[in-house]
């Protein structure tokens, strides 16, 4: 449980960080360390250099930017879940973040770190996908914006380029009429989700006008439950919603591992989506 040797740099500015990354192809960004450190300790990763982005002012804090909320990549989970801005304008993020690991990890782990790690079992990727966030990155080549639908490429693989730093994520405000729920299914309190369902639901006239559903751990990347979303458009609470949620596992490719087989994950996705949608719709 001892990492292989590596160099360590801690730049004071975003420009310096981009430079340090560009100078070494084998360098890795160190944010809160809650995902990277275990990989290093198990010698599953051998970076030549760690670029610690913990001191970069551009990456900090949660900001209200009018039509969207900007969450800095280095905002800790604890900071995010307690943020008034997040709780007011994108409460689904606060709900999901409160289920991440335990308080010690939430004080160290960062919003941007867990997204850049692109673990489909993580809670935040599915949430940001459902909320259609936009990832803001910086490299020596300049700034880029990547829509969430294009950010998660494969298992533990994002659209971030080698010498690119995630600066933060823009979360569009959804306005009034929306309800939210994150349904996380796990065996122990600190465990990863076996399946997680992030639901954002807009109600109108006693039925569901539209819904956005992000699924955790139902494939190599977080996925949207498009078929269920389509079925939920203008669906009456009750049988129509139930039937729509039966489509939640369509086009997913969950893995089989120690914690669950794929068919069980698909079953859970259907049951949990129904629960998440009803809860988001404020229906018992």
């Amino acid at each position: 449980m001892i990492p292989a040797p590596f160099d360590y740099v801690r730049p004071d500015s975003l420009a310096e960080a981009c430079q340090a990354l560009a100078a070494d192809e084998e360098a890795k960004v160190l944010a809160g360390g809650q995902s990277l450190m275990p990989l290093l300790r198990l010698r599953l990763a051998y970076p030549s250099r760690l670029v610690d982005i913990g001191r970069l002012p551009e990456l900090k804090g949660v900001h209200d930017r009018g039509d969207h909320v900007f969450i800095g990549a280095m905002a800790t989970h604890d900071e995010v879940m307690r943020s008034h801005v997040v709780n007011a304008d994108c409460p689904l993020i606060a709900l999901a973040t409160a289920t991440v690991a335990d308080p010690a990890i939430r004080h160290r782990g960062t919003f941007g770190g867990s997204l850049a790690h692109a673990d489909p079992a993580g809670d935040l990727p599915a949430v940001v996908l459902a909320l259609e966030g936009v990832f803001v990155t910086r490299s020596e080549q300049g700034e880029r914006e990547i829509p969430a639908a294009e950010f998660f490429v494969d298992y533990l693989e994002s659209a971030l380029r080698t010498a690119e730093v995630l600066v933060g994520v823009k979360i569009p405000k959804l306005g009034p009429g929306w309800g939210f729920h994150y349904e996380k299914f796990r065996r122990t309190a600190q465990a990863w989700a076996i399946v997680g369902v992030a639901a954002a639901v807009r109600r109108a006239n006693g039925s569901i006008a539209e819904a956005r559903i992000g699924l955790s751990n139902m494939g190599p990347t977080p996925v949207r439950a498009h078929a269920a979303e389509a079925g939920l458009r203008d669906a009456e609470l009750g049988d129509q919603v139930r039937q729509a949620c039966e489509q939640a596992a369509a086009d997913t490719s969950p893995s089989s591992d120690l914690h669950a087989q794929a068919d069980y994950r698909r079953h859970l996705a259907r049951v949990l989506t129904h629960r998440a949608v009803r809860a988001a719709a404020g229906s018992p």
Partner: protein, 785 residues
């Protein structure tokens, strides 16, 4: 007027330093010139080692030495097995570091000794080693087939035992009801909070070994035998030890190898395991296939019980490996009367980490087997499971009672504990709610699990252990030293690693000697300080070690009485002992024990022939086991849509005899119940088809935390043990033994109307869901026929 200490909920003397981090864990210790060792471990379950080249590691900066198993072969000996349960048991050679063949993933194959751990870890990657793969042996049933690949040349069966009592054939012949069940006791990984660590040093002649061990005394003897270091030149110290649960009741490869490396290099060497290394190489627990058959009359009276076990030994027999499953032998019959009983157990070699003692050691497995089956019999008979137990258990007026397996239970009151538990639980109300949920077809069903356990603690009269081929005695040692200033040192041969001996022993000595609780210190865990001992395991500490303390105090008091009589010029019979002083009956004339301690120190005026100092050195050997018992009830909500289970309430009423410190007792029960629930719901060591351990981290080997468990409702009934003057029975394992079947019984009880008859442990949501799916399909198929 002194306050009685025994029975007081004293906060632990140990905790201030534990909570403020001023603790002597082995890994915190340093010696001048300290070197660090790390081990290269086999990635293969079974393979021949065809080549090892450590030279690449030796050349790296900071590396002092590197060795293969071959390099150490001439001096490393074989790790000991101290419990050959049968005459014809096969005990294979067990080199601490593999020389020519590896038999489980994680077995040490080479080591690097370097100036720091980082360099040692880097150098491991420079060792060149080649293997020729051999077939893994993973399934016990397949291992026993004649054409199975062999773990050892001698074959895959380690031993086979059978015990018989009464006419078992007659009990089963024409029995109106026979319940026939097979259960899997999954393999568990003991997860003590402090990982194992070893530090060895030498001055050129003598050796000192610090180890995170439960058994410094046994270890010293065994290490002397294995390494050839003369016993008088070897000192073993267990400093503060952060939990063991049986996993540190072992003579480990790393302890032997650290000593050998220190001997070779003449410098201190330390090893601290990582958690993943520990999951691979701490001895594992449980791992049995249990075939249980119970024959009964139509009214529920038990006629006979037949138990047949396959017990996975893993690749080698370690200290107590073969004996652990046989500890269940006298226990499957539990609290029940029956005509006949048969127990058979076969120990099987596989290419996995060896198994050995884990909290309860044989008794949780036995309790699970019988308590699950009693609930199944109740279901078969359409009878309430508590009512069925009442019809079969030993009634309180029948104690002492000699069971069908030959043990004599000295005391107990199953009626009282059960009645109290049912009342705290609200048994009838919960049964009514269960019926209501069933009637409504509620997606969340309610189940009630019962476990009326007993266990045997306080291993054991030395003579009986000898008859069982156990390699050690069952006695324990204590010394009590009154210091000149009236303070007291208690030395115990029992070796605590979280149990709170310092506090409990202080309470016993305070009452016995009439001195203040705070005037007592307890020394332990160092063979040069506690010069005799049998260490801590099997809930033996209080029942035997605590008794030794009481006996040592009594002996000091007897000497003090003679000295007091001399000083007060009276007969010892004229003295009464009260509040720490000897008083001449009917006068004001007295001597406090502190005054007498000082007088015994100066020795200016001692009776003829009396030696200076008030101290004593005694051993206590018990005359029987002790038999804690209790009734645990679990109410479980089962989400039939997802398979998720949630403990709604858990009530435990335990009868552990007299209680020294109720706070410590509650702590033991909370932790024990949690550990038993963990087996029922969460923990499982999983090997893949090639024999790789998949559960090497806590992300994959699930341990529950406080957030996953309900608040337990605890109470006690008290039937003092009659086999020791303290009346104590031991509580270290009770919770773990009792809770596992209560939890699984509750899950099955919730789902029985839906056709589920069993759920294999750990009862993960997926397993529960699949059991429901299978039952639903079975029902449909049945309806179609």
């Amino acid at each position: 007027m002194t306050i009685q200490e025994i029975g007081r909920p004293r906060k632990r003397k140990e905790d201030a330093k534990l909570l403020t981090g001023r603790t002597q864990w082995t890994d915190n210790l340093a010696r001048p010139g300290l070197l660090h060792v790390m081990f290269l471990r086999s990635p293969m379950a079974h393979a021949r080692i065809t080549r090892v080249d450590v030279s690449g590691a030796r050349d790296l900066p900071g590396v002092v030495a590197a060795f293969s198993g071959q390099d150490l072969a001439a001096e490393q000996g074989s790790l000991p097995c101290a419990w050959p349960v049968t005459e014809d048991i096969v005990i294979p050679d067990h080199p601490p570091m593999a020389v020519s063949e590896v038999r489980y993933v994680g077995e040490a194959v080479a080591c690097v000794i370097a100036t720091d751990r980082y360099r040692a870890a880097d150098a491991l990657e420079a060792i060149d080693i080649e293997y020729e793969q051999l077939p893994a042996v993973l399934d016990m049933n397949e291992a026993l087939a004649p054409d199975s690949p062999k773990v050892h040349e001698s074959g895959n069966q380690a031993y086979s035992v059978k015990i018989n009592s009464g006419d078992i054939e007659a009990a089963f012949r024409d029995a109106p009801v026979v319940v026939d069940r097979t259960y899997i006791q999954q393999r568990l990984i003991p997860s003590a909070m402090e990982p194992r660590a070893v530090l060895a040093d030498t001055d050129g002649e003598s050796f000192t070994l610090w180890s995170s061990t439960q058994i410094p005394h046994v270890l010293r003897v065994m290490l002397a035998v294995v390494t050839g270091i003369p016993e008088h030149r070897l000192r073993v110290i267990a400093p503060d030890v952060g939990g063991g649960f049986g996993s540190k009741l072992q003579v480990t490869a790393e302890e032997v190898l650290c000593l050998l490396l220190t001997r070779r290099l003449g410098r201190p060497v330390k090893w601290t395991e990582s958690r993943s290394e520990g999951n691979l190489t701490v001895h594992h627990g449980r791992d049995q296939i249990q075939h249980v058959r119970l024959a009964a009359d139509a009214d529920g009276r038990i006629r006979g019980l037949r138990v047949s076990l396959l017990a996975d030994m893993g690749a080698y027999l370690m200290l107590l490996t073969p004996g652990v499953p046989t500890l269940g032998g006298p226990m499957f019959n539990a609290i029940y009367k029956m005509d006949a009983y048969e127990f058979a157990c076969t120990g099987v070699f596989t290419t996995k980490m060896p198994t050995d003692a884990y909290r309860g050691a044989g008794r949780p497995e036995a309790t699970f087997g019988i308590e699950r089956t009693i609930d199944e019999l109740a279901a078969e008979l359409g009878m309430d499971p508590v009512e069925l137990r009442k019809r079969n258990w030993i009634r309180h007026e029948e104690f002492p009672y000699t069971t069908v397996s030959g043990l004599t239970y000295d005391s107990g009151n199953y009626e009282a504990a059960t009645e109290r538990a049912m009342s705290l639980f609200g048994y009838d109300k919960l049964r009514a709610e269960q019926v209501d949920r069933r009637d409504r077809g509620d997606p969340v069903q309610l189940g009630i699990g019962v476990s009326t356990y007993t266990e045997m603690c306080g291993l054991a009269p030395s003579r009986w252990l000898g008859e069982a081929n156990f390699g050690a005695g069952g006695w324990e040692h204590a010394s009590v030293r009154m210091l000149p200033t009236g303070k007291v040192e208690v030395i115990t041969g029992s070796s605590p690693h979280g149990q709170g001996h310092v506090t409990s022993w202080s309470q016993i000595a305070a009452d016995a000697l009439g001195v203040p609780f705070d005037d007592i210190t307890v020394l332990h865990g160092d063979t040069a300080v506690a010069h005799k001992g049998m260490d801590t395991y099997g809930s033996r500490s209080l029942v035997i070690g605590g008794m030794a303390v009481l006996k040592a105090c009594d002996k000091v008091k007897e000497k003090a009485r003679k000295l007091a009589a001399h000083a007060l010029e009276c007969s010892p019979d004229d003295l009464e002992f009260e509040a720490g002083a000897f008083k001449v009956r009917g006068t004001d004339s007295q001597k406090t024990i502190q005054e007498l301690a000082f007088a015994a120190f100066t020795a200016h005026d001692l009776p003829e022939g009396m030696e200076p100092r008030l101290d004593s050195d005694v051993t206590f050997d018990p005359e029987n086991y002790s038999f804690p018992h209790g009734t645990h009830l679990c109410a479980m909500e089962v989400d039939t849509e997802t398979g998720m289970v949630k403990i709604r309430s858990y009530v435990a009423v335990d009868d552990i005899g007299k209680v020294i410190n109720p706070l410590i007792v509650e702590g033991q029960l909370h932790g024990g119940i949690a550990q038993g629930i963990a087996q029922a719901l969460y923990e499982e060591a999983v090997y893949d088809a090639d024999g790789n351990l998949l559960t090497t981290t806590m992300a994959d080997y699930l341990l529950p935390s406080a957030a996953d468990l309900p608040s337990f409702v605890l109470d006690r009934t008290e039937s003092p043990a009659t086999s020791n003057p303290l009346g104590v029975k031991g509580v270290g394992e009770a919770g773990t033994i009792a809770s596992t079947p209560a939890v699984v019984n509750a899950i099955v009880d919730a789902l029985r109307p839906l056709g589920v008859r069993d759920v294999q442990m750990p009862c993960s949501p997926e397993r529960v869901w699949r059991a429901l799916q299978a039952a639903r399909q079975g029902t449909r198929e049945g309806a179609g026929r």
